[in-house]
């Protein structure tokens, strides 16, 4: 029992050797944490909104909360209601069947709120661009601040997108001060 415990603590971590990204993920996460602290004051609440994705992007967003990534340590949490959210992360091209629900969800988010499009389809409609069933990318219906392309983007790419948003917000805030 004790031996198992010690092995667990000091033993070889399999995660470490198949993961070249982990160090970079941690760096990005810490950088993001600093930014979240500056922009939002400690924590960032994200509401995920699926407007017609193929579900791969949702799996990656879910993965952000699994042990390998565990983004809560950086002050990020996924919340159950748009009313609790600072950011809406939207995945998938916006289908006509979802358009009204997407609009209502956005309207339920307190302002100022931000929108991130995750995945190729959400960015510009992707392969569905000319389909009768979709409006197009998320920006057809919501004010999108940042786009994270990918089919789907990896957890690291999503984190980098979040970082990009923080930097954009900080830049925007600085400008009025200069005036």
């Amino acid at each position: 029992m004790l031996l198992d415990l010690l092995k667990n603590i000091f033993g070889h971590k399999r995660a470490a050797d198949i993961d070249p990204e982990l160090a970079e993920f941690r760096r990005t996460g810490l950088e993001l944490k600093k930014n979240i602290h500056a922009v939002f004051g400690r924590s960032l609440a994200i509401r995920e909104l699926d407007s017609g994705s193929d579900n791969a992007a949702e799996i990656e967003l879910n993965n952000l909360s699994t042990p390998y990534y565990d983004v809560e340590r950086f002050g990020i949490s996924f919340v159950a209601s748009p009313r609790h959210a600072d950011i809406i992360v939207i995945t998938g091209a916006v289908t006509h069947n979802m358009a009204l629900a997407v609009k209502k969800t956005f309207e339920a988010m307190p302002q100022p709120g931000f929108v991130i499009a995750v995945g190729d389809d959400a960015c510009d409609g992707g392969i569905y661009k000319d389909s009768y069933a979709v409006l197009g990318g998320a920006d057809k219906i919501l004010p999108v601040d940042i786009k994270i392309p990918g089919n789907p983007p990896t957890p690291l790419q999503i984190m980098k997108g979040l970082l990009e948003l923080m930097e954009t917000i900080r830049k925007k805030r600085k400008k009025p001060e200069k005036k």
């Binding site: 699926d50 579900n55 879910n62 993965n63 392969i127 000319d130 389909s131 069933a133």
Partner: protein, 526 residues
């Protein structure tokens, strides 16, 4: 073999009914009949009680018939080939078969939305994949409609209102849930009729994610449509890409290299492993046991990374193409994976034991969300749901494709039909998949992975066993482009099992029951 087709042909001819047996691939028996003899043919099929309806679709201007043709696919689990009944419609209506084959209700509503074909005697004539946003007269799959972005505003709801089933009585109230849910989940609407905390009725309304995939494939070169097949459902991309590619390979009589065939099996089984790991973890999340879930999430993440290492995509996208694989996987990497799997097995066993040793987990799983065995055939249930409800069926076994007739695997099955049974079946399937992969890697021949697959005209039907159950693809190529692409995922049928499984359960158990079935919204909505 053509057993089913020959029996049907002989029976029909004995009754002086004209029919035609088409020359097809050995995996399907294709019988053509007229609308006049449809009722009698159907009567024969019903009376035999040996065949279940697994799919139904329509096509416009199929081959030389101008107008609509209906296709009915029947399956007998003990016969390798599928029976396809092709019926040419003289006009825009057909008799409904939903009273004999309940699942046909959804197929018929789907066809009615797509083409405007009326089904006489149907007990449910509401629209299915077209919601209020679309005008009532809109039928996107008609050839007269050219696929294009429609100018519609979210606020304008042009179609007539969707009427839900009314459930009333003393103390009964409704809980509408969705389309936007509380977690990171796909959109869908659930309307519960509840008595106290007990679910009295559930009605599901889906198709919020309808992206028009079938129409999107039309008039495109077949080889350009693999991305469409992969986006049917992001976590079933290997299964759907393989089914689509196999359909084209059948049309072009293309044999793929042995190495590609075996590598495909590895990819398909890796997909099953990571999908089931996610389900088993999610089920534990839903009973508030994150420790047990974490052990499985860690394993899933590692498999996703091997996916990326082998194919460049964590979701196995872009590697399976008509004719084989777009790139080879180095044998060295596979051997490393084989070594990893040895450790994986032990760790998985440990994670599984952790869940099973936790009385609060088992207590919530046991006797929750029972899917009765009697539902399997009428609703055409397949995959782990069917196997957990006493039906030892698996497309890999019943209609072998690729290398599945040559690899050894068990068919786990349980009779209880509850959440626990599905949990146990999925655990067994992961172990089986690991063994299949190991066996293939140990005996993998060297050689090319891609052979030439041309773009000939024709049509072909393929069924595969995706992680969620049987997926069916039908591709019809005309003048070098896809004229009709029909996809029926396992989820399209399996979703309806949940309306029955939740009855008499409490509302807080719904997420758990839903997770244990892991149904795809994207794959259902297309």
């Amino acid at each position: 073999m053509n057993t089913l087709g020959i029996i049907l042909k002989q029976t029909l001819e004995a009754r002086n009914i004209k029919c035609l047996l088409r020359e097809t691939d050995a995996s399907e028996d294709h019988v053509c009949i007229d609308m006049d003899s449809f009722a009698e043919t159907l009567q024969f099929i019903i009376s035999g009680q040996l065949l279940g309806l697994i799919a139904m679709w329509a096509a416009e201007d199929f081959e030389d018939h101008s107008g609509f043709t209906l296709f009915y696919v029947f399956e007998n689990h003990n016969v390798q080939e599928l029976l396809v009944l092709e019926v040419k419609l003289p006009d825009k209506s057909a008799p409904s078969i939903a009273l004999d084959f309940p699942i046909a209700c959804y197929f018929e509503r789907e066809i009615k939305d797509g083409f405007g074909i009326e089904f006489e005697g149907a007990f449910d004539k509401r629209r299915l994949f077209l919601h209020e946003a679309y005008p009532d007269s809109f039928h996107p799959l008609l050839k007269s409609f050219e696929n294009q972005a429609l100018d519609m505003k979210p606020e304008e709801q042009k179609g007539s209102e969707y009427i839900f089933k009314e459930v009333d009585g003393e103390g009964i109230y409704q809980i509408p849930v969705g389309p936007v849910h509380a977690g990171i989940i796909e959109p869908g609407h659930f309307r519960f009729g509840v008595m106290g905390e007990t679910i009295f009725n559930l009605e599901i309304r889906h198709f919020y994610k309808h992206r028009g995939l079938e129409k999107l494939a039309e008039n495109k070169k077949p080889s350009d449509c693999i991305a469409i097949a992969e986006s049917i459902s992001g976590d079933e991309s290997a299964a759907n890409a393989a089914a689509f590619a196999m359909s084209l390979e059948k049309i072009n009589a293309c044999t793929i290299p042995e190495r590609a065939c075996r590598l495909r099996t590895i990819l398909l089984e890796m997909e099953r492993i990571y999908s089931h790991l996610g389900d088993m973890a999610g089920m534990q999340v839903d009973v508030a046991y994150p420790f047990g879930a974490s052990m499985l999430f860690i394993l899933r993440e590692e498999i996703l990374r091997y996916n990326a290492l082998f194919t460049g995509s964590r979701f196995l996208k872009g590697i399976i193409v008509p004719g084989g694989l777009s790139r080879d996987i180095e044998t060295e990497k596979l051997k490393d994976f084989n070594r990893y799997l040895a450790g994986f097995k032990t760790r998985f066993k440990e994670a599984f034991k952790t869940a099973c040793d936790s009385s609060w987990v088992i207590d919530r799983f046991d006797t929750t969300g029972i899917v009765k065995h009697e539902l399997v055939s009428p609703l055409n249930l397949s995959g782990p749901i069917a196997r957990a409800s006493g039906a030892a069926i698996d497309t890999r076994r019943n209609h072998p494709y690729g290398t599945y007739d040559r690899v050894k695997f068990n068919l786990p099955s349980k009779n209880e039909g509850d959440v626990l049974a599905r949990f146990l079946v999925k655990a067994d399937e992961i172990k089986n998949s690991v063994n299949i992969i190991k066996e293939i890697i140990d005996n993998l021949p060297e050689g090319p992975v891609l052979s030439q697959c041309s773009d000939n005209d024709g049509h072909a039907l393929t069924v595969v066993e995706a992680p969620r159950g049987q997926n069916l693809h039908w591709v019809y190529v005309k003048n070098g482009v896809i004229d009709r692409y029909k996809v029926r995922t396992a989820s399209f049928c399996n979703w309806w099992a949940i309306e029955h499984a939740v009855l008499d359960n409490i509302v807080p158990d719904f997420p758990l029951i839903n997770k244990s079935m892991n149904l795809s919204y994207a794959g259902n909505d297309l």
